[in-house]
């Protein structure tokens, strides 16, 4: 499925992505020819063990491949808001700043660490809003001033209006820049703007089901509980209603009850914002709860992609079968997949799963299987199913 153009209903398509880390021990082949696609408004769950390349793939979608990783091959096609299609891996840094946060944003695993400890919650959300929605906010502030007719002749208000108009029409004006540098005047001339943004944040926090948003805005992250912090992180990610939200194990470090609340919240927000979601996790229960389709990753490759019900009912890849069998069930002994995740410096030849596979054939050692279509929307990369379809 390499280099296929993006069809209209698709939001993002990762084609044959290959990421390698050049380390002292050798070249870590972290992601090898991984392919994914996400439709508009869909939640794609990515499951896999630690080190299967889930997070690297996710960060690479934002062109933030962790150092010393390098993208060796592949492309990531993304449909922007104006429906033009771009390849994220071929954008320059400036273009990327316009995409991150506005078109694609991300939620992290550790909410405590994802928030700046010395910045108030409100300031951090403001930052996200200012980065991409300044224009809209300034326009709103002008509206606010227009509504208050009685202080039309107030000097400060006139200066404020002038500032906003200048910010919209001529942001590189020297006079504007000078005013923005003088501490007290700077604050006075942005009074309405700050109120508007604050109002916007309160609305956003209400959507996150945060009680008493007025207090939370002025709190520092350490004053909030883990679940609250994760809601803030989600609020920051959704501040500009991105088209695609990448959630990297956002509930792994939370209590089970809080986890359920957050999953519920994400599901409802998806309806509201209409974003597509990539949900990365290693918890099969969470996957079943949240995703429309599931991609299973093993040792840097996508081994199976299927709608969630189909995957749980009819897993095809031996690894997926093993994963599903290793979900603990009361009353029966805990099963596990024999062996360990291979060292990615020197991965097994052919199919990377073959040393652990119960159905291993001789050709598995030589041929790396491609994703093939076995039924409607169900793809698997295993030689057992090669030839069943000619996709």
């Amino acid at each position: 499925m390499s280099n296929k153009p993006l069809s209209l209903e698709e939001q993002l398509k990762v084609n044959d992505l290959t990421v390698r880390f050049y380390t002292y021990e050798g070249i870590v082949k972290a992601v090898e020819k991984a392919s994914l696609k996400i439709r508009k408004g869909e939640t794609l769950g990515i499951v896999g063990e630690t080190g299967s390349g889930k997070s690297v793939t996710a960060l690479t979608i934002l062109a933030l491949t962790p150092s010393p990783g390098r993208v060796e091959d592949g492309n990531i096609l993304f449909r922007k808001r104006d429906s033009s299609v771009i390849d994220i891996l071929r954008m320059n840094e400036h273009q990327l700043l316009q995409i991150r946060g506005k078109e694609i944003s991300m939620i992290f695993q550790e909410p405590n660490a994802a928030l700046d400890p010395v910045c108030k919650v409100g300031e951090q959300i403001t930052e996200a809003i200012l980065a991409h929605r300044l224009r809209e906010m300034v326009e709103k502030s002008i509206e606010v001033i227009k509504k208050e007719k009685d202080n039309e002749y107030d000097l400060w208000t006139r200066l404020e209006t002038w500032t906003y108009k200048e910010m919209l029409n001529n942001p590189s004006d020297v006079r504007l820049k000078i005013i923005q540098k003088i501490p007290i005047i700077r604050d006075i001339t942005k009074r309405r703007l700050r109120q508007v943004i604050r109002q916007e944040i309160v609305e956003l926090l209400k959507l996150m089901e945060i009680p008493d948003p007025g207090r939370v805005i002025d709190a520092y992250p350490h004053e909030l509980s883990g679940g609250m912090q994760q809601r803030i992180v989600i609020a920051i990610a959704l501040a500009c209603s991105p088209l695609l939200l990448i959630a990297d194990e956002p509930t792994t470090n939370l209590d089970v009850t809080v986890q359920a609340q957050i999953l519920d919240l994400i599901n409802r927000l998806k309806e509201k914002f209409g974003s597509s979601i990539i949900y990365i996790t290693h918890d099969m229960g969470v996957v079943a709860e949240i995703s429309d389709r599931v991609a299973v990753m093993y040792a840097g490759s996508v081994v199976e992609v299927a709608p969630v019900k189909e995957l749980f009912r009819n897993p095809l890849h031996p690894y997926t079968k093993g994963l599903l069998e290793s979900i603990p069930r009361p009353g029966s002994p805990l099963k596990s997949i024999p062996g360990t995740v291979p060292n990615l410096v020197d991965p097994p030849s052919g199919c990377r799963f073959h040393p652990r596979c119960a159905y291993m054939m001789n050709k598995c050692k030589e041929i790396m299987p491609r994703l093939v279509k076995v039924s409607e929307d169900h793809y698997v990369a295993c030689l057992l199913y090669e030839g069943e379809s000619d996709d």
């Binding site: 934002l62 933030l64 150092s67 990327l96 700043l97 316009q98 995409i99 991150r100 946060g101 506005k102 694609i104 944003s105 991300m106 992290f108 695993q109 550790e110 660490a113 994802a114 928030l115 700046d116 400890p117 010395v118 910045c119 108030k120 930052e127 996200a128 980065a131 991409h132 002025d218 709190a219 520092y220 992180v233 920051i236 990610a237 501040a239 500009c240």
Partner: protein, 306 residues
């Protein structure tokens, strides 16, 4: 009907109160603060405490004649006079101002250079880090006092040369500290999170990493002011300071060099010439050190909320 309105304290006010409270709880830090503030008062009101003779550089100590032997404290000269009849009281008062000028200027400038170098190195890593850090290593490889002396000799003796030399010798410490903090903090998730919402590198450095890295820097800076004054005094004592008669503590001590042993009859005949400037220098450095310790107690997030 009376309605009780509960006024919420703003968090900034609360924070300030907390810091003041912590300082109040620790008597030593209070002492440090008191010393630093009294010296600041002396420096600010030097014009009133020791009015300079009109029409002359106020930093030049007025002298009462040219007699070499120091005179003990008397009503005209509260702290006595030094060798060459320089008024010790006047020298101490205006020397405070000179000390503040050197200390604050050197620390501010070296912190500024250190922050710039350290943050670039720690944030961008790679080649930039390598080049900048090897540069700081070169400077750190020299014994700092010797390097400062060499620089002062090269620039020509004087207080400005001492200031410049101390800045050039002092910034690597800050650069190292800032770089370390940047390396640590830039690996944190919130930096990555800031990137994912589209923050530019400059914004991340200034808004997110620097405020998190600033507290160790404040502690280091306040401890550094004390030692910078000591080094400046040492350079001045060694004859690399301003011309004779300039109000500078190092110089006042240097003027007492020949009189430490006193006379045969009374070994402490000239006690005031070395004791008084020495005590002031000691108090000044100790005040800053105590204050630095107090700042560390207050600002260290690990120690504070106990």
């Amino acid at each position: 009907m009376i309605r009780w309105i509960k006024i919420e304290e703003s968090p900034r006010l609360k924070e300030t109160k907390f810091i003041l409270n912590r300082i109040r709880e620790n008597p030593l830090s209070l002492v440090g603060l008191a010393i630093v503030i009294s010296f600041a008062v002396i420096a600010i009101f030097a014009h009133i405490l020791a009015p300079p003779p009109p029409g002359r550089d106020p930093y030049i100590i007025p002298r009462a004649g040219y007699f070499p032997e120091p005179q003990p404290p008397s009503p005209e000269h509260a702290f006595g006079t030094t060798q060459g009849q320089y008024d010790l009281y006047y020298g101490i008062i205006w020397g405070t101002r000179a000390a503040y000028r050197i200390g604050v200027l050197v620390v501010a400038m070296s912190a500024f250079i250190g922050i710039a170098v350290g943050s670039l190195a720690g944030y961008y890593k790679g080649v930039i880090d390598e080049v900048l850090m090897r540069l700081t290593d070169i400077i750190l490889a020299f014994p700092s006092l010797i390097l400062a002396m060499a620089l002062v000799v090269a620039f020509g003796p004087g207080l400005d040369s001492i200031t410049l030399a101390l800045i050039l010798v002092g910034w690597p410490g800050y650069a190292r500290l800032v770089r370390g903090e940047f390396l640590r903090i830039s690996a944190e998730d919130f930096v990555e999170a800031a990137k994912t919402i589209g923050c530019s590198n400059l914004r991340i450095i200034i808004r997110h990493i620097l405020p998190n890295a600033i507290f160790p820097l404040l502690v280091y800076a306040s401890l550094d002011i004390g030692s910078i004054i000591l080094v400046a005094a040492a350079l001045s004592f060694l004859g690399l300071g301003p011309p004779e008669g300039y109000a500078d503590w190092g110089q006042l001590i240097s003027l007492s060099r020949n009189w430490i042993t006193g006379t045969a009859a009374n070994p402490f005949a000239y006690w005031h010439v070395y004791t008084i400037p020495g005590v002031f220098l000691f108090l000044f450095v100790m005040g800053w050190n105590l204050l630095g310790d107090a700042l560390r107690d207050v600002l260290d997030p690990m120690l504070r909320r106990r």
